[in-house]
């Protein structure tokens, strides 16, 4: 079994709308899986179903090939988007409480928490009430609580909101380390740059349906439209004269005496043929394929559905 989580044709209805419509996803083991989608698409509902907070109306979920059962909650760590702590409770006490609810033994949890608190510079706050902590510190505490019981599956819903750039890096490093140590991570966010940086696989959910799923690199390749960005110096004749049967000039601009052109090649044309053609117009300085960002793919896919 190569997938840690398999969601098979899950449908969930609420009183006045369908939150998930026949959604299936496969989360490969030891991968970082991006769950993308606009607000209200059904991501949180799917995450809650995987966490067994709510049940699906139709469909099944498998955890390492077994049907998802209540005891699996101890193997999952969940950092929800809407997260908080008891304000009047002491930080250490509270972390211990939540760790015990995940099934950890008191003494083990305490020892392990002290280590993590030390690592995140939180140890002096152990006996302070939560309300005395800054928002960033509270987020750190929550992050620690989520990963403390060494879950096989981690679900982070907008994990970086509320963190400053330095702590975001700290967190990203930890997430990579968790993956290296064998954890599988489902990562839900609107921040597409972090998706590109972190995710191996993604699923895009829009209007309760999964509209896109797969390896990030392959998806980007798939969305690449055979467009190339070429910088040319010493133009000898206008690029408009390019052979229109095979090439299409989409854009050109002059920058510091260089001409930057975006050219699309038609089917069956290789990049070498493009270079041979462009060489006739001037001196090629640089050449690269225009690969869409996840952001563009996201916007394109979502807006196509409107």
């Amino acid at each position: 079994m190569n997938n840690l989580i398999e969601v098979n044709s899950v449908t969930k209805d609420f009183s006045n709308h369908r939150a998930l419509d026949n959604v299936s996803i496969k989360v490969p083991r030891q991968s970082i899986f991006g769950m993308l989608g606009p607000n209200g698409a059904g991501k949180t509902t799917l995450i809650r179903i995987i966490n067994q907070i709510i049940g699906p109306d139709k469909g099944e979920i498998f955890f390492k090939g077994d049907k998802l059962r209540p005891h699996h909650v101890d193997k999952i760590g969940y950092l929800p988007e809407e997260r908080g702590l008891y304000k009047k409770m002491k930080v250490g006490e509270q972390a211990l409480y939540l760790a015990q609810l995940k099934g950890l033994d008191y003494n083990y949890a305490k020892k392990s928490l002290k280590e993590w608190f030390d690592k995140f510079d939180l140890l002096p706050w152990w006996h302070k009430k939560v309300e005395a902590l800054s928002k960033g510190m509270q987020q750190k505490v929550q992050f620690i609580i989520t990963i403390l019981h060494k879950p096989e599956l981690l679900i982070f819903d907008e994990p970086f909101s509320g963190f400053d750039p330095i702590n975001i890096n700290l967190l990203k490093d930890e997430i990579f380390k968790l993956k290296e140590n064998g954890a599988t991570i489902i990562f839900s966010t609107h921040d597409m740059s972090s998706v590109e940086e972190l995710c191996d696989e993604i699923a895009l959910i829009n209007k309760s349906k999964k509209v896109l799923e797969g390896n990030v690199y392959k998806i980007k390749k798939q969305y690449a439209k055979k467009m190339f960005r070429i910088e040319i110096s010493d133009i000898s004749s206008p690029l408009e004269n390019i052979n229109n049967d095979y090439f299409e000039l989409l854009d050109q601009a002059n920058k510091n005496g260089l001409t930057e052109a975006v050219i699309k090649i038609k089917n069956d044309i290789t990049t070498n043929q493009l270079l041979n053609e462009v060489v006739k117009f001037g001196n090629i300085i640089s050449f690269n394929e225009v690969i869409p960002s996840m952001n563009e793919i996201f916007i394109k896919t979502v807006s196509e559905q409107q």
């Binding site: 009183s15 809650r48 966490n51 067994q52 907070i53 709510i54 209540p70 909650v73 101890d74 999952i76 969940y78 950092l79 929800p80 809407e82 997260r83 908080g84 702590l85 008891y86 304000k87 009047k88 409770m89 409480y97 939540l98 015990q100 609810l101 995940k102 099934g103 929550q142 609580i145």
Partner: protein, 446 residues
């Protein structure tokens, strides 16, 4: 799974018991209760300074007949009323009683003069002694011997005996039953309200602080809800037991330290009541008082020992817990459905009305503890915890008790089931104004 509920119960219990407000309430509560019981007695004793009444007796008959008592001291002033009033102005006396010549024929001509507002107790005492004097004078005038009159005076106090199902006879003491019933009824009412709203606030806190989604990824919403209800309930029981214990300690130690405080001298009581004796009904009342007084201590003891304490205590704890669980679930459901405390109002009303209803109808139930109102209100689970506790001290058919207990258990299973449905949807729903229609839909979700 029970291990996790236990962890939740433990947190709910310890976090509340450690709070300053709990400690303060737990200590202050019994002091307040004890004060409520002992203060009036202490204050009454403190205000009992002697009240000097000067008598100007134009008849020269009464002045040495009036007996002191009730802190009233009579002094004869052998002068006319004008001089006496001068003495009053100089504050030689607290009051001056004027008995004019015509007082024999028309007692309404009696007058009492004071500088400050008249002391009501003193006035009553004076009226009492004068009344006795006038009455015996009149009896003498009609040729009736006072002793004969005394000998025909009869005290009637019907002993009420209830025939038990097992054929035993049992003496009834409605006054004691009433007091016991209303105290336990009100206690249950207060307990449900106080700790029910703690459950509500606790659920609301988890929802508004957004910790709830973290927790329900580890435990079932039902476990979280039950953990909170049970934990808070145990806090309530703890506080209640400490209150009972401390109140007893305080009252007992005060009454041992000042044993006189709780004793009334027979004379005073008789006089006070007889002063208000205007008609035969009141006369009867007075006789009761006299009768009761003679045997009060014995009777109260007898009455208290007649109460079936094991039934009383067991049913108190049962209806205490049952009623709390029933309402606690409803309070938890309300807390989960709203976003802030202000929004709770619209849902609180239908939950609190039955409780208030029970307290209001408690009066009626006491007057007729086996009537139809009492029966139905003690059967319906929403009112039964309060009403049953009012009924039980009067003695209750076992059938009623079992039926009520059974329905209460069924009732709290039902409200818990319903609350769980509302709760699991409500806690995850933020920023939406929820109405009854939404809640109905949540209950219908499978």
């Amino acid at each position: 799974m029970f291990k996790k509920i236990f962890i939740i119960i433990k947190r709910e219990y310890i976090s509340r018991v450690k709070k300053k407000s709990f400690v303060v309430m737990t200590i202050l509560g019994p002091i307040l209760f004890a004060a409520l019981i002992t203060l009036p007695v202490i204050i009454a004793q403190m205000s009992d300074s002697d009240y000097e009444v000067g008598i100007v007796d134009d008849t020269d008959f009464f002045y040495d007949q009036l007996s002191d008592g009730n802190n009233v001291i009579f002094t004869h002033i052998p002068t006319n009323i004008d001089n006496a009033l001068e003495l009053l102005r100089k504050e030689k006396f607290d009051a001056v009683l004027h008995i004019p010549e015509v007082a024999f024929e028309s007692p309404s001509t009696l007058q009492i003069f004071t500088k400050d507002a008249v002391n009501l107790n003193a006035k009553i005492h004076i009226e009492n002694v004068l009344k006795q004097e006038f009455e015996s004078l009149k009896l003498g005038a009609k040729g009736i011997d006072e002793d004969i009159l005394r000998s025909i005076e009869t005290n009637i106090s019907i002993q009420s005996i209830r025939i038990q199902e097992d054929g035993m006879e049992e003496t009834d003491y409605p006054e004691i039953s009433m007091a016991l019933g209303i105290i336990s009824g009100i206690l249950i009412y207060i307990f449900i309200f106080m700790f029910g709203s703690q459950v509500l606030r606790g659920v609301l806190e988890e929802k508004t602080s957004r910790i709830v989604e973290v927790i329900v990824s580890s435990v079932k919403p039902f476990q979280l809800m039950m953990g909170k209800i049970v934990g808070v309930g145990m806090v309530g029981l703890t506080q209640f037991l400490i209150w009972v214990f401390l109140t007893l300690v305080i009252v007992l130690s005060v009454s041992t330290a000042m044993p006189d405080m709780f004793q009334f001298t027979p004379d005073e009581q008789v006089h006070v009541t007889s002063s208000q004796m205007m008609n035969s009904e009141k006369l009867q009342e007075q006789m009761d008082t006299v009768q009761q007084h003679d045997t009060t201590a014995g009777q109260v003891l007898e009455a208290l020992s007649a109460i079936k304490w094991h039934v009383m205590i067991f049913s108190f704890i049962f209806f205490f817990i049952g009623g709390y669980l029933l309402y606690g679930a409803l309070f938890a459901a309300i807390g989960s459905a709203v976003d802030n405390e202000a929004d709770t109002q619209q849902f609180m009303l239908p939950v609190t009305i039955p409780l208030i209803f029970a307290i209001i109808f408690g009066q009626m139930v006491m007057q007729n503890p086996s009537g139809p109102v009492a029966f139905w209100l003690s059967i319906i689970p929403l009112t039964s915890p309060v009403i049953m506790m009012i009924r039980i001290p009067f003695g209750i058919p076992l059938f009623d008790l079992y039926l009520s207990a059974f329905l209460l258990i069924a009732g709290f299973i039902f409200t818990t089931w319903m609350a769980a449905k509302i709760y699991r949807t409500g806690i995850l729903l933020y920023g939406k104004k929820v109405g009854y229609k939404d809640i109905w839909k949540w209950i219908k979700y499978k």
